[in-house]
């Protein structure tokens, strides 16, 4: 018997209409756990680097995490992995909600889609019965609307549906996959789904998920629940409200937006508006939220309430979470009322709430600069809000300039030319980032931005405070019950970290400490993405219920694997290196590993070079960021180094492997 996992993947070839249920090798679970780990292995094995994202040979994998479907509190993530049309690298966007647990109860750990359907179809997975069904009547329908229509026509209100909107159908490079209250939106994975002619996947499952050591496991789950209660009663003092508790930032519940509106940049990630947040605006925005928010809602088996149902009179109801609350409002230099209204359309179209508003603000900036003209924007209204709606429509339908913009700012700027590249200024690895423009370089964030393969800071940062606390007393108070640290030295680094003076950014934490802090935070995310644990209860917030000291026993008790801290650390490292290997094979190198040029005003080229050099060394990578033969060998990834040698990515020189293209540095 397999524990926590089902031991089966569902393979669907949309070209031939073939459906297979494949048993999986338990050895792979021991090496890569599940979720992102086994997804990366499949992509490495089965999708050669020559395969274009929009090729029938590209795979689109919907995976449950290893512990999804068990009572592990907050463990419900669907990890979607494929190759991104925008970055051309591996995309592994994820979503919470209810879809992954349902897939596991249906009897599968993963759904692996290959090929391409000539006509628009949807999948209906009802336990052992799996059908490819016609979706021509759903063409052009909104993502939420589609899910409702499918539940009705299947007469199965309990089916969980993941779907794309018109943006995905039209292969907009920042199209999302929506699932009612959750979405997997980064990296353009909705475009890959659309390219495959797949409108939606409905799942219903009524099978058991087994636990290896039930008594031990449930005790750990109860402990996590108890700790969540303690953290509810004890928000962390000294940090802003959205970071004081657990969960993803509580944007739906908390009205105070002083920090976001004054510290994040408006428009095309340009303008800081100091003093924006005043009493009048606070009242107006609070009223807006209170009027439209009908309920705070949770994902599967999670006591956090990170989402909300939004009902605006005259508009269909939709669900939202986290920072998409503000992205449209701020990009359009407007207000929350507008933000929530346009987000309704954008959610039905199925678009990434980070990238979409920035693309529109970018277009308007080009228009103001005269690089785009009235010829490019025929019939565009004169007011900002009207323009946003106009652009949204053009992009989703890929009409006129919308067809260019639908590829995101990096590719659009290249195509538009005439200096447009300067305006696509907020990208990492061709992917739009949070609109943050700050003063002093932060070494921790520098490394996370540069090397993070999720290419999205909110899903890389985590357990170490984002900024030093003002006084030593506050810091001492903070470290008192900081049980989550892997080692006492992290406490020392935090205690000594000052706002100003010698022990402040950019030179403190030291390069050595920075490497370890970044590595710790990243490790926790990689574990979560393999188990399906929500980062909001684990790798993202301060002092979460799950950490490196209890996750090994949790995974052991559920699966029966023999796992301790060093064993789990080794697995996380293996997954981390395999994800990197997949991208290295597709050409990613040191030159790609950098934050947006203008992210910080004060940059320190020498320090930055040193940070990257030392971090690469720390990770067992060469100066190009390529895992060395030794480190691959140590992780049991010899098949990767063999492939690298064959392709000339690594060369077979005694001692430390050198890199052919090192001059690119």
């Amino acid at each position: 018997m397999r524990f926590a996992e089902t031991g089966f993947n569902l393979e669907v070839d949309l070209t031939r209409g073939n459906i297979e249920r494949e048993a999986t090798d338990p050895k792979l679970t021991a090496l890569y756990l599940g979720g992102l780990g086994t997804n990366a292995k499949i992509l490495w094995d089965r999708v050669p680097p020559e395969v274009e994202p929009f090729s029938p040979d590209n795979l689109l994998i919907f995976s449950t995490g290893l512990l999804v479907g068990t009572p592990a509190v907050g463990c419900n993530r669907t990890i979607v992995s494929t190759f991104s049309p925008q970055t051309l690298l591996m995309a592994y966007s994820m979503m919470g909600g209810f879809w992954a647990p349902e897939l596991k109860y249906a009897g599968y750990d993963k759904l692996i889609i290959h090929g391409k359907s000539p006509d628009l179809v949807y999948l209906w997975i009802n336990n052992d019965k799996v059908e490819i069904r016609d979706a021509s009547h759903l063409q052009g329908k909104g993502a939420t609307e589609t899910a409702e229509l499918i539940r009705q026509e299947l007469k199965e209100p309990k089916a969980q549906v993941a779907s794309i909107g018109l943006a995905g159908e039209n292969r907009v490079y920042f199209a999302s996959i929506e699932q009612g209250r959750s979405s997997a939106s980064r990296g353009g994975i909705g475009a890959v789904m659309g390219d495959k002619g797949l409108k939606a996947i409905a799942v219903r499952g009524t099978n058991d998920v087994n636990i290896a050591r039930p008594d031990e496991f449930i005790e750990l789950c109860n402990e996590a629940l108890e700790y969540i209660k303690v953290r509810r009663e004890n928000p962390i003092p000294g940090v802003m409200p959205i970071l004081a508790g657990l969960g993803s930032p509580q944007e739906m519940a908390i009205h105070d937006e002083k920090w976001h509106t004054e510290n994040f940049a408006w428009g095309n990630s340009r303008h800081r508006r100091k003093g924006f947040w005043n009493e009048e605006i606070e009242k107006q925005w609070t009223d807006t939220m209170e009027n439209y928010r009908t309920r705070l809602i949770s994902c599967h088996n999670c006591p956090m309430k990170c989402g909300a149902t939004i009902s605006i009179p005259g508009f269909p109801t939709y669900m939202m979470k986290c920072f998409s609350k503000l992205t449209y409002a701020m990009a359009a230099m407007s207000d929350l009322e507008f933000g929530l209204r346009i987000a309704q359309s954008a959610t039905e179209y199925g678009m990434d709430g980070f990238t979409a508003p920035q693309v529109m603000a970018f277009a308007l900036e080009l228009y103001e600069a005269g690089i785009l003209t009235d010829k490019d924007m025929p019939g565009m209204p004169s007011d900002n809000e009207g323009r946003f709606y106009w652009l949204l429509d053009k992009i989703v339908r890929r009409e006129g300039i919308g067809d260019v913009l639908a590829n995101g700012t990096y590719w659009a700027a290249k195509e538009i030319g005439n200096g447009a590249e300067e305006y696509a200024h907020n990208n990492i690895k061709k992917h739009e980032q949070l609109p943050l423009k700050l003063g002093m370089l932060n070494p921790i964030y520098f490394l996370m931005y540069s090397t993070g393969e999720k290419i999205n800071i909110t899903q890389i940062e985590g357990n170490f405070p984002q900024a030093p606390f003002a006084t030593r007393e506050e810091r001492e108070e903070f470290v008192k019950d900081w049980i989550q640290v892997p080692d006492e030295k992290f406490k020392k680094w935090f205690l000594d970290w000052e706002l100003r003076g010698e022990n402040s950014i950019p030179y403190y934490p030291t390069v050595e400490a920075t490497c370890e802090i970044v590595d710790w935070q990243e490790k926790m995310h990689y574990i979560d993405d393999a188990t399906g644990m929500c980062a909001g209860l684990s790798s993202f917030p301060l002092k979460p219920p799950y950490h490196i000291h209890n996750l090994p026993t949790l995974i052991s008790a559920a699966t029966g694997m023999d796992l301790d801290e060093s064993g789990l650390t080794q697995i996380a490292k293996r997954i981390r290196n395999l994800v990197r290997a997949v991208n290295i094979r597709r050409g990613m190198r040191r030159k790609d590993e950098k934050p947006p040029e203008d992210h910080w005003k004060k940059r320190f080229p020498e320090l930055e070079t040193k940070l990257l050099d030392e971090y690469y060394k720390f990770k067992g990578w060469n100066e190009q960021g390529i895992p060395t033969r030794e480190s691959l060998h140590e992780l049991g990834l010899d098949y990767v180094s063999e492939d690298f040698l064959q392709r000339g990515i690594l060369t077979d020189v005694e001692g430390s492997p050198s890199e052919k293209a090192s001059t690119e540095k």
Binding site: F98, T144, N207
Partner: protein, 181 residues
């Protein structure tokens, strides 16, 4: 016997639909608790509590499995509360032929909430313990009631059985069963 007062504990789960966030932890932990061995498997389809939910209409109703009903209702009610119209069977606890819930998924046998009876007893049923938002809360109340022997009801029941199966069959069964025990 007639008229004697008897004390009994009434167990109540109070359901506040306004506080439900739709996480369905109650379903999951219920199925785990009732697995054999305890907590060895998880399957919300086996749960004795179900959250009837329609997020887009803001409907979240935790419903507990009650008694088994052999037949569907011939007449049903539709409730409108605060402008929200609820499905006909929304508040019903019965395991019955008209719907899928509260039946074991493989055998189809009816499920019924037992308030997590166990030895030693739990402080609260598991669903209540796992509901951190207090959509489900637990109360015990002592009630004094007359333990009446409702002869009339037994007579009515027997008569209808006899009408259906004939007196001879009923007598045979009664004779056989009373011998056993």
């Amino acid at each position: 016997m007639k008229g004697e007062k008897k004390k009994r504990i009434i167990k109540i789960i109070k359901i506040d639909v306004d506080k439900c966030t739709g996480c369905r932890a109650c379903e999951l932990i219920c199925s785990a608790f009732h697995a054999a061995p305890r907590y060895s498997s998880n399957n919300p389809a086996r749960s004795r509590i179900r959250v009837i939910h329609e997020p887009l209409r803001d409907i979240y109703i935790p419903v507990y499995a009650g008694d088994y009903a052999a037949a569907e209702c011939t007449a049903r009610d539709k409730y409108t509360i605060d402008g929200k119209e609820y499905e006909e069977c929304a508040f019903c606890r019965a395991s019955c032929p008209s719907r899928e819930i509260f039946k074991e998924p493989d055998s189809g046998l009816p499920l019924k909430c037992d308030m997590c009876e166990s030895d030693p007893p739990l402080i609260e049923p598991m669903c209540v313990q796992w509901c951190l938002d207090d959509a489900l809360t637990y109360e015990e109340r002592e009630e004094e009631g007359e333990e009446e022997e409702k002869i009339e009801e037994i007579e009515i029941g027997l008569e209808s059985l006899a009408n259906k199966h004939g007196w001879q069959k009923i007598m045979d069964i009664v004779a056989r069963m009373s011998k056993k025990g």
